[in-house]
Subunit: 191 residues, 4 copies
Amino acid sequence: MTSTSRRGHDRTEAIMRTMLELGRETGYARLSIEAVARRAGVGKHTVYRRWTSKGALLLDSLLSLHRHDLDYPDTGDVRADLRAQIHRVADLMTAPPFGPLFRALVAEAQHDPDVATALHAQFTRPQEERTVARLNTARDRGELSPDFDLDLAMAILSGPLYFRFLITREPLTHEYVDQVLDALFAGMGPR
Amino acid sequence: MTSTSRRGHDRTEAIMRTMLELGRETGYARLSIEAVARRAGVGKHTVYRRWTSKGALLLDSLLSLHRHDLDYPDTGDVRADLRAQIHRVADLMTAPPFGPLFRALVAEAQHDPDVATALHAQFTRPQEERTVARLNTARDRGELSPDFDLDLAMAILSGPLYFRFLITREPLTHEYVDQVLDALFAGMGPR
Amino acid sequence: MTSTSRRGHDRTEAIMRTMLELGRETGYARLSIEAVARRAGVGKHTVYRRWTSKGALLLDSLLSLHRHDLDYPDTGDVRADLRAQIHRVADLMTAPPFGPLFRALVAEAQHDPDVATALHAQFTRPQEERTVARLNTARDRGELSPDFDLDLAMAILSGPLYFRFLITREPLTHEYVDQVLDALFAGMGPR
Amino acid sequence: MTSTSRRGHDRTEAIMRTMLELGRETGYARLSIEAVARRAGVGKHTVYRRWTSKGALLLDSLLSLHRHDLDYPDTGDVRADLRAQIHRVADLMTAPPFGPLFRALVAEAQHDPDVATALHAQFTRPQEERTVARLNTARDRGELSPDFDLDLAMAILSGPLYFRFLITREPLTHEYVDQVLDALFAGMGPR
DNA sequence: AAATAATCGAGACGGTACGTCTCGTCTTTAC
DNA sequence: GTAAAGACGAGACGTACCGTCTCGATTATTT
């Protein structure tokens, strides 16, 4: 790796670190690219060169934090693995800095299609796919009714979580997650 | 009605109308209170006197449009009523100006607790309560298992809809609504 | 005096009193008619009904304070009377609230011809005339050269005082006044 | 001159030119920094970056016009030089744009100590000093009484001029200036 | 005593400007 | 030759006053 790209990498890191720092202090919605550049000791151009919008920087900062925290466990027990995984996601969404950052990012995505696309492609969809893959495994093993739409199942698992997170702002407790899971498997189970 | 409150009421209406108008043209996120006031032919203070933030004005404009569109039908067939009602909500969320306006409002709520509270109190919660009341009626009639948590049922109905609306941005078709409903009643039915 | 005009008079007094009060606290330039009305517990209209501008109110408040402080003494010794009188004017200009108020009024007069005219007619000119009348008496008594222009003499007495007050902002000491007077009489005395 | 300061210098010039332009059209008191920026095709920040207040901009615009118009002539005849110089100042104060601009500036100085200081330091005091220097020369040559205070003489020359300009608003004719000068030299001459 | 008229406080209203902030682009300077 | 530093035009922020206006509630005068 050349020293230039090393240097470039340093700035990238520094800017994302400052974004998270300032975000916790100021709130992710209130903060400006101008302020991030100032605090990071970096020219505004250096930020604009790397990210096209505040949302894009927000997304990268989020992923830099937790890109690998969302790998599913694999114990052989599909239902237990799902439960464990959703507990982890719920915990993540609850705690700073991920929670508020993700909240801000979803807000940003509502009026910035680029952010919406990137967020979906890099965060939401991979999660969905892994969940659906697990459900698929379970169905193959006969733990699930073969005619139940797995995308729908995934939506029924995720939807209530996001609903609480974005709309009612109630806490994402493990109990709640378990309730949803149990309800789903009750309806989804083989007859 | 006195002429003062008449006058006051006129401005209030005019400002909300302009907000909806400008929103459709410009996009709700892009628009400024300044622009709304200018277009409505009204001093900025006259807006700030009525609403504390852009979000508050957004919410009132939304409610002025559809405050009464969300009353449940009552045909005696609870499941059919629920279905009809959710279809109406899905249609509303799909079409402008309600759809984009509501999307912008949810985004605003993510960083403005006042908006979040007001949105929940004036829009989301009433919907929830009416849905839960219907489910309650159905349970009383023996159409639902007596030990199923009705708040959870409501969340399983609403969550996937909001998930599609806010996260995956797929269309809120009647088919999708029906799928969710069927899945829920399958798991929820009396054994 | 009728009770209506009594009432009216009360407000007039109250407003001018508040103007002086607020002026001392806030500075005469910073203060708004709005603030005066608010503090005086009076509708804005009640102020605008009486005065056409802030300058007009300023002038009336000034005159209400010191309308009668500027009557010349008359001891028979013209030069001593002049000296005593100018000392009094200098003292007045030095001390609040008259000094700052008068300063603000002169400033206001620079861009408001109505204020300029009123200030000149009601304050400056009467002073001038009394000074010239005294000088006239002195000339009649042979204390002054008969061919010296008395308006010019008055300007030479007043000018340096205003120059210090408005331009250099040095203190208007009795010593300075005496110097000017002595210089004037030296040049003006009969040969 | 580097191209940065070139660019900066261009804006500075353009803003001051616009200030003078707008001032003549609108009146210096009526005009806003906002209007100057708009007319000059410049962001408001670009004005605020250079001047802290309207008064400061006013002063710089004034000085940009006539910084070098006030150098004394030097013919060897001190009294004639003084007369010529004061005639020039009187003419300057009479004619737009200097006259109204200077008037507005003096008004501004009455409630803005920074403007007062700057105006005195950059305009009034240099004039004073040059006048006093001339008077000093005259005294050295025996044209003036050695015991006459020269600062006082300067005040007696300037005061009546400012008095007419600011208070009575009578025209600053050469005749008037000559009268003042003659009166001063009559009193000041060697005995 | 009732009717009429004037005055008042309160403050809404359309405007305009304030001085600050951020946007995204563009220049210059320094390492 | 790449950044930092930050100037720049643009324009929104939320606040303050302007001077005009409308409103009911007192007062005062007239009938």
